[in-house]
Structure formats: structure tokens, C-alpha cells
Symmetry: C2
Subunit: 404 residues, 2 copies
């Protein structure tokens, strides 16, 4: 490791000075700084190197973007990417590198874009994290990776690197954090007035009181982390950090499992939209939720659902049954309401029985519009609220595949 760590450090330093040289040549006012886990010394192996180019606050946005990309291009010969900010990404001496322009602010209240806060995070950790605590952060990150809760990106909805550092600062070391996390309850809230935020876990950012560092975390991932801590306390072991990969089920095993359950499976398949994961995953979750709601509204009972991302999106739903009876009971108005007549007129046809009275309502046994979930999805899927890009892809082409 020490050899590796020196190699990283020198690569980062070289990049920083290359940036400084370019700034000089371009005759602009800007300053490169190293941020992120390499700057903080809390990285696991093969980290990304993050260089930020800080521009004065009065720099015009288009100027910042133009020169920010110019510097990245010159130093890295890399690829342009666009998040809230445009930036450059590339490879240097085997390391993934991001070169990101930002504003040099003196207080996070002045922040003009999300990245402007990053140098404050780096500074805060460098100033507060003791040398041996760096190893605790590394241990924690590897533990989180092992149990599957590491990464704040939309695909994972887990713990960010900065959050893991703050947790070590708060609980001093890895072991006491694990111990304390066993006692976390319904909602874990750390920091002053944390209850202002409504996410499943709150850690108020020490450099910006208006931000919840844990905002990306899903309920599942917090719960999974707490559970892992409980298990680790009882029986610590290396497999928490480096779990064995589960063997994928064979097609035969999957078919056998589906048969035993006697449930119904239906899958929605469409092309993957060409957008970054952080935009794609929230849209896919929205799509999944909308389809579930559609099924439920139409009396299908959803047991479970999920999706796999490849060139195609494969979104699967497990239902009690893919088929409902042809007849359904339809409740109408109270008998003493004036529109009772309309109800009875409306349902004169397309019914199994004449309208009848139950307690004090009109009821009629009607023909179910969608007795098959496949027809329901085929007809309604392109009208669902699923996010712009997923909707576009689904509208272009989709298929529904059923299994039983």
C-alpha cells in the first residue's frame, strides 16, 4: 500500500501543476486544488483523482465553463461530461480523473452550484480527521461496500464517502460506530435541528446547515446497514468486507422457483434511454411505482417488482395472478342521491345482473375492463407517469412478456 499511496500522490500533484501551468498560459485568474478521498487520504484502492479549478466569484458562468473545459481538455485530453456543471473526465497514469470548474466562495451560503461546497468538505475532513482515523474510514467504506450500502449515486442510494468520514468523526472509530449503529432507531438523526429534514436518515452537514449529507440514502439501505452492524457485533468476520459472490441461479432453477410459487410474472421490456445512471435510476423507480399503482388500481395484487439494466431495461412484476375474473363488483352512489338514476341508466348494458342495493348503495356486477394484466399494460403503459426519458423509450417500443 505505501508504494501505491505515493504513486497516487505524485500523479495527483503532477495533474495539479499541469493545471496551474495551463492557467498561466491562458492568462486567467483561477486556482487548481485537489479534493475528494485522495486529498483526504481516505481512499480505497484505485480511487478517482478529483481536481477542482476554482474561479473568482465574479467570473461569468459561460467564462467559467469555457475555461474549465479548456483546462480539462489540455491536461487530460478527456471527455466532456455534464452534471449540474460541465466537466472533463479522463485517465492519467491509470487513474480515473475528474477536472471540475467551480466558484471560490468563502462561505457555503454563497454557493452557486453544488460542487462549490466540495472544497469545504475536503478542508473540513483534512482539518478534523486524525491520522489513524483515516484507516477507520477505509475500514468503514470497505464494510459498506461489502454489505452493499456504499455509494450515494441514484443507482445505489447508499452512504457517500463524505458521510462515512463524518460518521467516523462523530463516533471516533470503526468499532464504536458499528456498536452505536446497532441502537439506531426508526429515523437516525444527527446534527442540530435534524428533524427539519424528512429523509430516512439525517446528518446535518457541518459546513452547510441547510444540507442533509445523508439525503440520498434509502430506507432499505439504512436498515441494511443497521442490520449488518448487529450481525457484525455478534459475529465479526472478513466476509462482511469481502463477501462471497452469490452464484446466479440457472434458468432451470428459476423456472422451478416460479412454478413452486404459483404466482404470475409479467415483464416490461424496452430500450435503455441514453442518459446517465443518476438520471436513469430515479426514472426507472418512478416507472416501477407507476406500474405497480396501475396494477393495484385494477385489482391485481403485486407481490414484488424489480428491474435489471442492460442494453434493454427488463422490469419484472410478480403478481398473485395474471388473470382476474371477467366479472367485477362496481359500487355506485347512495340510493337517495339524485344521480342514482344516471347510475342505473349507465349500467343498463354491459352487466351480469341488474343494479341492486347493498346496505344503502347501488351496486352492479359489471364486465371487468382488464381481466388480463397484459392487456392492461399494453394499453396503459404509454400514458403512465414514468419520467421523460423512460417514457420516450417506452413510447418508441416496448414488449410485455409473461411467465407463470
Amino acid at each position: 500500500m505505501p508504494g501505491e499511496s505515493l504513486k497516487i500522490k505524485s500523479a495527483a500533484d503532477e495533474l495539479k501543476s499541469k493545471c496551474a501551468d495551463t492557467i498561466k498560459k491562458l492568462k486567467i485568474n483561477a486556482e487548481p486544488i485537489l479534493v475528494g478521498s485522495v486529498a483526504k487520504g481516505t481512499y480505497l484502492k484505485k480511487p478517482d483523482i478529483d481536481i477542482f479549478i476554482m474561479f473568482p466569484k465574479d467570473t461569468k458562468r459561460d467564462v467559467l465553463e469555457k475555461y474549465g473545459l479548456k483546462i480539462g481538455e489540455t491536461v487530460l485530453n478527456g471527455e466532456r461530461k455534464y452534471a449540474e456543471h460541465p466537466y472533463t473526465t479522463g485517465v492519467y497514469k491509470g487513474y480515473e480523473v475528474d477536472i471540475v470548474p467551480c466558484y471560490k466562495i468563502t462561505d457555503t451560503k454563497e454557493k452557486m452550484s453544488a460542487v462549490d461546497r466540495t472544497p469545504f468538505h475536503t478542508k473540513y475532513i483534512i482539518e478534523n480527521l486524525e491520522g489513524k482515523q483515516k484507516n477507520d474510514v477505509r475500514l468503514l467504506k470497505q464494510f459498506m461496500k461489502g454489505v452493499g450500502v456504499y455509494g450515494a449515486e441514484a443507482r445505489i442510494q447508499g452512504f457517500s464517502g463524505y458521510l462515512s468520514e463524518l460518521l467516523i468523526l462523530k463516533y471516533r472509530n470503526f468499532n464504536s460506530l458499528i456498536k452505536e449503529a446497532c441502537n439506531w432507531k426508526r429515523r437516525t438523526m444527527i446534527g442540530e435541528n435534524a428533524e427539519r429534514f424528512d429523509e430516512p436518515m439525517v446528518f446535518v452537514d457541518p459546513v452547510d446547515e441547510n444540507r442533509n449529507v445523508a439525503s440520498a440514502l434509502s430506507n432499505e439501505k439504512v436498515s441494511l446497514f443497521i442490520h449488518a452492524c448487529m450481525e457484525y457485533i455478534k459475529n465479526p468476520g472478513i466476509e462482511f468486507f469481502f463477501p462471497k459472490k452469490p452464484k446466479p441461479l440457472s434458468k432451470k432453477q428459476i423456472l422451478k422457483m416460479m412454478n413452486e410459487r404459483e404466482t404470475g410474472f409479467t415483464a416490461l421490456i424496452f430500450d435503455k434511454p441514453g442518459i446517465i445512471d443518476d438520471n436513469l435510476y430515479p426514472q426507472l423507480r418512478k416507472c416501477e411505482k407507476s406500474v405497480r399503482a396501475l396494477c393495484t388500481e385494477n385489482d391485481f395484487r403485486v407481490i414484488d417488482s424489480g428491474f435489471y439494466v442492460n442494453n434493454e431495461i427488463f422490469m419484472i412484476f410478480e403478481l398473485d395472478s395474471l388473470k382476474l375474473p371477467n366479472m367485477k363488483k362496481h359500487y355506485g352512489p347512495m340510493i337517495f342521491l339524485s344521480d342514482a338514476k344516471n347510475f342505473r341508466e349507465k349500467w343498463k348494458k354491459n352487466v351480469f345482473t341488474k343494479p341492486y342495493i347493498e346496505k344503502n348503495r347501488w351496486v352492479v356486477n359489471i364486465k371487468r375492463k382488464y381481466p388480463d394484466v397484459k392487456n392492461l399494460l399494453n394499453e396503459k403503459i404509454t400514458g403512465l407517469s414514468t419520467g421523460r426519458d423512460v417514457l420516450k423509450s417506452v413510447r418508441k417500443k416496448f414488449k410485455i412478456v409473461e411467465g407463470k
Copy 2:
């Protein structure tokens, strides 16, 4: 009608004087009175004749019962029956006759048994109902019969004769009652502080403020009456009073209907308990309700249910499906609760998947205990709360028959 009415009157008078003779012979202190629709002149054709034998308030209960039955036996040579009170029922000159002992009270507050109030009802109606209103009562009773809401017995849960008389008194005549009933709302409440009672319709008894004359009425029957009034106003006709009997469906038609619905039918069949209808029907309704609840608790969706009474009870349930998938989702405790371990231990076997986390709960996909409604009923039916006599009959012998 006048000839018939004279015949009834003379039969009733004869019975009354035969009772008086018997009382004299027995040398007891009692007084026969004619009550009910014959006394009030509000009967339809072939009414029951009701003679009450009033005993002084200080008569011991067993003495009242003994002599009450003795008089009935002597006059009618009839059959003993037991409601709250024992009484005699028989036939005289072609009329059904009840001879019922009761206490002669001066205020309904003193009432010792439900029948003690009846003479007050008779007296109240005779004193208040005008001659021509008697015809309105008859019209109303026939209307109620025609639309299927007449009769306060447990089998029907409709309007009693006394209630129909009170309604004519309140609304003056048949036509204005029908008109007013079209405007009855959610709960119809008539009388002072009627909201003390919680039945679907309330008519505070003018001779006993602690009684709701409409207490036997079901929500369905009130609604059906209101609906019939609305229809009658729009388009009055003889068929409201004398409807055509619907043709019963043929077996072929029933099978065709069942097939088209694609629902599942299951029937519980057991011997009819040897009890009077007023005790039987509430128990059957309780049984029906318990079975529905049992199905629902076990995830079966009940569309409708009903029962037919013959030598056997035939209780039928229509479900979305007679079969559920083998697998069901089972929710466990929150992950941070201490018994989470027990949950995971408990469900180590008999599961399709290992326990997993959803939001912050443990969940496990387990084997459903009753995927077939037939097995569910077979195993649980004798443990349901269904009323004493129905339970006894079911425990002796039952069968479950399925259709699809």
C-alpha cells in the same frame, strides 16, 4: 271485502268470549283483549287473530304461563310455542290464531315482557287512526309486500305492521308518505331524540320512548323502500303492489352465468337446525359474516354471498378465485426491534427466499397455509362464531361443494 271483514270480526269476538268463559271456569283474575291488525282494522286478507290474556301485575310468572297456556289449549286445542313468552297458536274458522298471556300494566315503563306493550300499541292506533286512514295503511302494507320490505321478523328485516300504521299517522296518507319518503336521507329519524338509537331507521315509539319501532329494519330494506317510493312517484302502477313473480333460472342458465363470470363458487351445506326462524336467521347471517371474514383474512376476495333455507342450509360464497398462489408475502418486525432475530429464526424453513428487508421491515416469502378455500373452510368452519344452533348443526355434519 265487507263480508269478509264481518266474518273476521265475528270469529275474533267468539274467540274473545270463549277465553272469557274459560277464565271464569278456571276462577282466575284475567281479561282477554283483541289486539293487532284485526283489532285496529288495518289487516290485509286472511290476517292472524291475536288475543292477549291480561293478568294482574302481581301474578307470578309461572302462574301466568300455566294459565295462559291452559286457556289457549282449551279454546284452540292448539300448539304451544315459545318466544320470550310461551303462547298458544292454532286455527279457528280458517284463521290463524295466537293466544298470548301478558301482564296488564298501566304504563309501558312497568313492562315485564315485550308483549306487555302490544295492547298499548293497539289502543294508540285505534284512538288515533281515522277511518279512511285504515285504507291508507292497507295500501301501504300491500305496497311494502309488493316491493319486498314488509315484515319485521328476522327472516325479512322489514317494516312491521305497527310501523306502517305510525307512518300513515305521521304523514297523513299513503300518497304523502310515498312523496316524503323520496326525501329520506342517510338515516331516517322520526321522534324526539331519535339520534339516541343507532339503527338505520328510527321511529321512536309514541307509547314507549325507550323503543325504536324500526329497530328490526335492515339498511337494505330501508333503501329498497326509498327507492321504490321514488320509482312509484315517477311511474305509479299496480305492479308495485302485485309484482310478477320472476321466473327461476334453469340449471343450464345458472351454469352459463357462472361460466361467464369466471369467478369461483363455494357452498357450505348443513342440516337446518330445528329452531324458529326468528332465532335461525340471525345465526345464519352471523355464520355468513364469519365465513366471509375468514376468507378475507386468508386473502380470498369475496364478491358476494347468500343462503337458502330448506331442510338443509345452502350457504353460497362467490369469490374472485377459489385458489391463491402457493407463496405469500409475510411482513415481520422493524429491523431495529429486538425480536427481529426470532423472526429470522422462525422463518428459516418453510420459505421461498431468505428473509429480506423492505423499507425498514423484515419480509419473508412463505408457503401459504390455505391456498384452497375448500381446505380453509374444511379446517376452520367448526371453530367459527356462528351462533349456538348453527354451530351445533355444522359440527354434526357439513359438506363443502365447489363450482367454477
